[in-house]
């Protein structure tokens, strides 16, 4: 059996696919794919192995692209991806996720959720989220009013979490009919009159801990958090990190106590590596302590930024971590984030990275 690792990279100017063997030292690169459309997210559909890309084109609108031959040929659809003729049009697809019962979910701008039960050919609006009573109060973050994170429960098909900027985390326990905000304990420093509102938090990313569906890690505009009770409440775990801000976060595929984040300078200070010093920070104890990793990374004059979807991990042992920058560089660690090498520095602005292990 041959093991390959594939990196799916979404950029402002199309998708790219990189491949390596299990050593993850040398990478081939294909692209641009998806006709150069801006791509916000890429996933692999577990049931088929198909590659899916969430995208939005300034001329031709939103679409979910699909390739069943490893990225050689593609189809696309946004059929049904509408709030209705009287409502604001859907501009772009920001996030994709496969559900444990074989469906697909797409998060879009303006923020809302759509589901497909025919592998992305047609989509239907998950109206329960849009109909939430807080909807008139939802306001955009710097990237727009976007539903950017979708985390289905691995076994309970009725249960899904989504993240909306700048609104917060919501959870459904009835298959999308009703939703509840899940933001207790999360700061909203930009709202000094009410730092802990029911909604209005600027969640940037969250991810589930391996094998512990009730443990979630959250990267927020204001700090980093962990929930041990399925998002009913959050505890801040920012102590030890250099800044309050950042976008990217990934969790370990087997160790529920480990996750990685990339802190950035505050928005009003540029949103780049703090002091121009590139570093990925990791915890092995659920956020009690953090370890800075910069071996191989540029530690001076490096004013790079990493967006919310632009860090990914594979499932090999040791785990490979990859992150992409807004300036088109792709960095990889094949030792769980201890040391780093640059794969390429010539891609367009990177918006998404996904890592997939293929066993042929």
């Amino acid at each position: 059996m041959t093991t390959r690792v594939r990196l799916l990279v979404g950029t402002k100017k199309g998708a790219f696919i990189l491949e390596s063997d299990a050593t993850r030292r040398d990478w081939s690169l294909r692209g641009p794919l998806c006709e150069g459309w801006p791509v916000h997210d890429l996933i692999v559909e577990p049931s088929s192995g198909a590659i899916l890309a969430g995208a939005g084109n300034p001329w031709y609108g939103p679409a979910v692209w699909r390739s069943e031959d490893g990225g050689t040929s593609w189809t696309h659809s946004s059929a049904g991806m509408t709030y209705g003729d009287g409502a604001e049009p859907v501009k772009t697809v920001w996030s994709l996720s496969a559900t444990p019962d074989g469906g697909l979910l797409a998060g879009v701008e303006p923020a809302g959720l759509f589901r497909s039960d025919d592998r992305g050919a047609t989509w239907r609006h998950v109206e329960g989220l849009t109909n939430h009573p807080t909807r008139p109060t939802w306001g955009p973050g710097a990237g727009g009013l976007i539903l950017h994170t979708i985390v289905p429960h691995p076994t309970d098909t009725d249960r899904t979490w989504v993240g909306i900027s700048a609104v917060g985390v919501f959870e459904t326990r009835d298959g999308g009919v009703s939703w509840e905000p899940r933001n207790v304990g999360v700061r909203a420093e930009f709202n000094p009159e009410n730092r802990f509102p029911e909604t209005g938090q600027c969640v940037h990313k969250f991810a589930m801990a391996a094998g512990q569906p009730d443990t979630l890690y959250q990267r927020n505009h204001c700090g980093v958090y962990r929930s041990d009770d399925g998002s009913a409440s959050w505890q801040e775990i920012s102590d030890g990190l250099p800044t309050d801000f950042g976008f990217a976060m990934v969790t370990h595929p087997r160790d529920a106590d480990t996750c990685w984040v990339i802190p950035l300078s505050l928005p009003e200070q540029g949103r780049y590596m703090p002091d121009g010093h590139t570093a990925v920070w990791r915890t092995h104890d659920r956020g009690a302590t953090w370890i800075r990793s910069d071996d191989g990374l540029p530690t001076r004059d490096a004013y790079m930024s990493v967006l919310r979807e632009s860090m990914a991990r594979d499932t090999l042992d040791p785990v490979g971590i990859t992150f992409g920058t807004e300036t088109g560089q792709l960095w990889h660690s094949s030792d769980e984030g201890v040391s780093w090498r640059m794969i390429t520095d010539t891609l367009p602005e990177i918006w998404a990275v996904e890592a997939v292990v293929l066993d042929d």
Binding site: E35, P58, W59, Y60, G61, A63, S73, H76, S77, S78, A79, T82, Y83, G84, D85, G86, A87, E88, P89, V90
Partner: protein, 87 residues
Amino acid sequence: MATVMLPGSLIALFPGVARRQEVAGDTVGALLDELDAIVPGMRERLVEAGPRLRPHINVFVDGQPADLATAVPPLAVVHVLPAVSGG
């Protein structure tokens, strides 16, 4: 039948589809409905909720700017053009 000329960036999304299409329809909207029957998914790329033409899509009927309600005479030449948007 009108003659519809499609832009290269649009037909690139539908491999094998020709730039020039002969399509029936007495309005631009009806014509795009018919075009969608010939090339499934194409209307979705040109029309957004409203329904209306997407903001950066222009349609000209015999050289005149048009919207979905614009009448299309028999034998008209209809151009679909993406706007030169951005820098």
